[in-house]
Symmetry: D2
Amino acid sequence: MNSFGNIFRVSIFGESHGPSIGIIIDGAPAGIDFSELDMEDDIKRRMPRERGTTARREPDRPDIVSGIFNAKTTGAPVTIMFKNNNTISKDYERFNTIPRPGHADFTAMKKYKGFNDNRGGGHFSGRITLPLVAAGVLAKKILKGVTISSRIVEIGGKENYQSIIDEVLLSGDSVGGIIEVKLAGLPAGLGEPFFNSCESDISHIIFSVPAVKGIEFGSGFASARMKGSGHNDMIISTDGKTATNNAGGISGGITNGNDVVFRVAVKPTPSIGLAQETINIETGEIENLSINGRHDACIALRAPVIFEACAAIAMADLYLKYIIDNCWSI
Amino acid sequence: MNSFGNIFRVSIFGESHGPSIGIIIDGAPAGIDFSELDMEDDIKRRMPRERGTTARREPDRPDIVSGIFNAKTTGAPVTIMFKNNNTISKDYERFNTIPRPGHADFTAMKKYKGFNDNRGGGHFSGRITLPLVAAGVLAKKILKGVTISSRIVEIGGKENYQSIIDEVLLSGDSVGGIIEVKLAGLPAGLGEPFFNSCESDISHIIFSVPAVKGIEFGSGFASARMKGSGHNDMIISTDGKTATNNAGGISGGITNGNDVVFRVAVKPTPSIGLAQETINIETGEIENLSINGRHDACIALRAPVIFEACAAIAMADLYLKYIIDNCWSI
Amino acid sequence: MNSFGNIFRVSIFGESHGPSIGIIIDGAPAGIDFSELDMEDDIKRRMPRERGTTARREPDRPDIVSGIFNAKTTGAPVTIMFKNNNTISKDYERFNTIPRPGHADFTAMKKYKGFNDNRGGGHFSGRITLPLVAAGVLAKKILKGVTISSRIVEIGGKENYQSIIDEVLLSGDSVGGIIEVKLAGLPAGLGEPFFNSCESDISHIIFSVPAVKGIEFGSGFASARMKGSGHNDMIISTDGKTATNNAGGISGGITNGNDVVFRVAVKPTPSIGLAQETINIETGEIENLSINGRHDACIALRAPVIFEACAAIAMADLYLKYIIDNCWSI
Amino acid sequence: MNSFGNIFRVSIFGESHGPSIGIIIDGAPAGIDFSELDMEDDIKRRMPRERGTTARREPDRPDIVSGIFNAKTTGAPVTIMFKNNNTISKDYERFNTIPRPGHADFTAMKKYKGFNDNRGGGHFSGRITLPLVAAGVLAKKILKGVTISSRIVEIGGKENYQSIIDEVLLSGDSVGGIIEVKLAGLPAGLGEPFFNSCESDISHIIFSVPAVKGIEFGSGFASARMKGSGHNDMIISTDGKTATNNAGGISGGITNGNDVVFRVAVKPTPSIGLAQETINIETGEIENLSINGRHDACIALRAPVIFEACAAIAMADLYLKYIIDNCWSI
C-alpha cells in the first residue's frame, strides 16, 4: 500500500536510518528532460536551514538508478535514491516500550507486532518526504505551463512568526503552522467526479505526509459560515474564469480553469525537549520522558515544497488522464 | 475511476435523472446478515425531512440485485440499486450554455465535451450519495464492535441554527455547515504509513461527496496554533488510551485505540432562488440566472449519515487489511 | 476483485439464478455512439443455437442503466444489465454436499464457507460472460479501425466436428475445443513491458472465463520445438510488418503492427448426463451422481464471441494508455 | 504499469545496462525471517551455468535496501537491488535503426519514440527477471507448507535434449522449450471467481517474462480433445482430493486442494549468431544482420526458477486474501 496514483504512480521505500530511501515513478511519458540537477532547487528548499529546523545534516544527493537515458525519461520506471549518512540510532530502542506521545511508536509497534524498524521513526519518518520532493520535480515537468507556488500562511497563529520560533527553541517546545499551495495555469477538465475528484487525490497524498491534521480548498472551513449568494463564484469569461475563487479552482471535483488553491494544517513537532509523561508498555507505569536527538521545532517551515510536490504528483496523474479525454476522437 | 478501496471496494454508477443509480460492493466476507431492511434507518436519515431540505421526494427503496443469498452475503459482489422516479428534467438543457455558478455545469461540459448528462447534475449529483449510504450499512457490519456517530457542529456559524435556516428559506438563499464524525471502538493498528493512512483514505472518500470544502482530524487546524507540549496526547494505559485526543485517534496514519474524530466543512448549496449573473458560453454575454427546481437550502443537514457511510467504507477496507496483519503467523 | 483494467475498467456482478446480472464499464471516453441495438449481434452470437448448446433460453435483452445520454457515452460509468428469467433452481441445493466433478461446487463452498449462492453455479456461472460480451461491444468501438474475428479451430480434435457433437449428445457426454482470435489493424505500441504486456492482460481476462485451460500467442507451444532461425519474424517494412507472424503480433509485450493472434483451449463441459461418482462431504461416502438440468454439450461452440470481447476489453484499456504515449508532447 | 498484485505487490525497475535493477515488495507481513542468504539458492539456479547459457557473468549479489530489520520483515516495503557490472553496450545503438527480428527493438522504439534505453534490451531485458526471483523467495516464505517445484519437460521437442543444445551451439542457432511448475500443499480456497482466478493471476505474471508464448493448466490444450466423462476429476475425499488432476488443482478459478500444475512454452532465444535479414528503418533497405554479444542459446534452461518465483508471487497475493476469508468471523 505504498503506492499512489493510477497512471502516474509513485512507490516509496526506505527507513530513516536504513542504508537509503527512494521512490519509483511509473508512467512518466518518454522524452522528458530530467537529471539530478533538475532536483537540486526543490531538494534545497526542503533542507533544514533557518532557525527552528533540525540539526541533522544530510547531503540529500539524488541518485537516478533507472528510467533515464541521455538525460531524458525513457518511458521505463524512474527510480531515485538517497543515501542516509548522518544517522544516530542509539536512542530509539526504548521507544517500543516507552512510546513517545504524538509519535507513531505505539501504533507501529501494535501494527507490526514490534518487528518495525523504529530507528528515527523508520518508514514513518518525515525523511521519506525527500523522495516525494524528487518525484514532484518530474511531476511538475509533466504539468506543462503550470506554476506551482506555496507560502507559509502562519506559524503558531502568527504571520510574522520569528519570535515564536525563538520562544519554542528557548523553551525546548515546538509549534505548528499553516501552508498554502497554489497551482496556476491548469486547464479546465482535470479530475473525475466522485472518487477521483481533484480534492480526493490531493488530500489523499497530502495526508500521507506526517504531521498533517487538516486540509481545505478555496473558501474551506469558512464556507460553512457563508451563504450561497456570497459563496458562488460568478463566471465572467467563456474560459470559465470567475470573479472570486471560493471554489479553489475546482468544481464538481474537476479543475475549472482558475487557480487551484488549498491550505494545509501542520501540527507542532511531537519531539520536544521538554519532559513529558508516557506509559511503559511493559511495566504499566507512567514514566518521565525527555527526547534528545535532533528535530525540527517547527516542521511546517520545511513543508511548503513537500506539499507542492504532493500536489504536482496528484495533478500529473490526473493530467495524463486528461490527455485521454482530450486527444480521444471518434 | 469510479471505484474506491483496495480490498473492500465500492463502485458507483448512475445519474440523478437516469432510470436508476447504484453501487457494487466487492470484498465483503461471506456470511454477513444483510437485507433491504438493514438499510432502512440510514437511508431514512439521509432523506429530506426537516425545514431547509429539498422538496424532491423519492421512496429510495434499495433493491439488492446480487451477492446476497438467504439474507446473507455470499462473498460475491453485492449490488444495490435505487430507481429514480421523481425527476423533472426540463430545466437543465440550458445549463451547458449558461453554467450555474458553484455547480459542475462548466467543468462537466469541458471534460466531457458537452456529451455529459447534465439533467439534475447527472453523475455529479448529490443523489449518488444514496448508494454510498447503502454501502455504508454493510461496511458498518464489517466493523464489528465499532460505533459510528455524527453530529451537526454548526450551520452558518451557529450551533443553534434554526433561525438561519428560516432566514435563507425566506431570502431564497442557502447556507453551509460543519459536521463531526466519531468512530468509537476501533482497534489499534488500522491503516498504513504514508499513502494509505487512515486520514488519506477517509479524506479521499469524503472529498468525493459534493460540496465538501475541508476536513480536519482531531485538533485539525487548531493544531497549527498549538505548541507540541500542549498538543501531544499523553499515553495513560498500555492499550494506548490517551488523556487527550488531539491526534483524533490516529498516529502515523494508524488508529491508536482512541476514538477516530474528524470534522467536515460543507459549503452552502450552490442552487439558490436569488438571481445570479453568469456567462453565456455561446454569446459571451453575462446573463441573469435564477434557479427554480427543488434543492436543499442547506445540504449539511443531510450530510451526517453520508459522512458516516464514507468513514465506514474507508475503515472497513483498512479493517480487512488489518485482519491479515493480525491473523498472519509464522 | 471483480474488476479488470486500469483505465478502461469493467466490474461484473450477478448470479446465474439471481434477479439480474450486469457490468459497469468505467473509463469509456465521452461521445461514442452506443445503444442497446449495438449489442444485438454479438449477444446473438453468444446465444445457444446450434446442436450441442443448452436448452436454456433467455431473451438476453441488454438494459443500459447509466452512462449513456442521447445514444452516446457521457463519460460517466456505463452500466448494462440483463434479467434472469428462465431459471430452474431446485436441483442445486445438494451440490454443496455432493460437489459435482469438474465444477466449482467444492471450491466455492470451501472459500465461502457454504454461504455461496450455488444455484446454477451462482457467480461462477458461464452466464456472467454475457455482460462481458456487452462490454466488448463498447470496447470494440474504442478500438477504431481494428477488426476482431474468431473461429473454431477444432472441437474434440476435429476441424469438421459435427459428428462428434452428435456422438456426445447421444451418449450424454460433452467435448472441448480450441478457439482462435485475431485482431487486425492495431497500431504498433500498445501494451507495456513486463506486467502489463498484451499477453499478460489478454490471458488474465481470458482465464477469467470458465472452462479455459490454456492460451497461446502466435507460434505458442509449437515455438518450444522451433529454432530461433526459424522462429524469428523477419521485418520487411518500415512500419514493422513481418514476413511471418510467429510473434502473434506482439514483441516484448507490445503490439508490433501485425495481427494479434491467440488460441484458447476450452475444456469439455463438466455437466454431463452420464453417471459419475463423487464424494458426499457429510457422509464421506462415494455417491453416484447424474446431472440433469440444461447444459451445453460443448461450450466451445459459444466461446468465440466471448473471447473476442475479452480481447477487445483488454486492448481497449491498453489503447487508452497508448493515447497518452502518443498525444504527449513536450 | 510496472507493478503486480493487489495485497502482496511487487514493483520492478531498472535496465539491463543501467547501474542497477531492483524490486519493491509491498504487503509482506511483519516478522518473516529474510536475509540476503535466503536468496542465494534461487539466484544461483537462475545463473547461466550449463552449456547453452550466456557467457555474461554477473555476481548477482542481492542488496536489501529497506523493509528488513534484525533479519526479519518489518511490514514496510522490502526493496532488493542488484548491481549491473558486466555490461558491454557498444553494440546496441544501431538496433533502433536496424531492429533485431524477434526482439522488442522495433516496438520499444515505436512506443517510446526512440527515447528508450535499448542497451542490452534495457527495461525489456530478461535480466529484470532476477529481481523477480529474489521476490519469489520472500513469496515462498509466505506460502507456508507449500512446496514449489519445476522441471524442464522438453527442449526442442526432446526430453533428452543435450544433443540439441550442442547442435544449436554449433550452428549459432537457438532453441525453445517447455517448463512445468507444480505447487503442492496449497489449501483449498485461494483465488477469486472471474478476474482474479488463480489462472488469471498466474498467467498474467508468467506472460510478463520475456519469451513466453503459451501457458496451460492441468490437462491444458489436451482437454480440447477430451470428453467430459474423461476429463472430470472424481472427488475421492472430503478434503477435495481427486483421483485425477486434469483441473491442475484449480476449479472455478480457486484452488481445490490438489497440486497446482501448469506448463509454459518458451520460444527460442531471438538473438542468434546466424545471419538474418531485417529492415533499416531509415533507409527502408533490407540489411543483413548477425548478432554478436553474449546470449543464451536456450533461455528455457534458466526459466524454471523464474516461473516458480512468478507462481509464488501470484499465489502469495491470493494467500493473503485467503487469510481474510478464513480469519473473518461474525
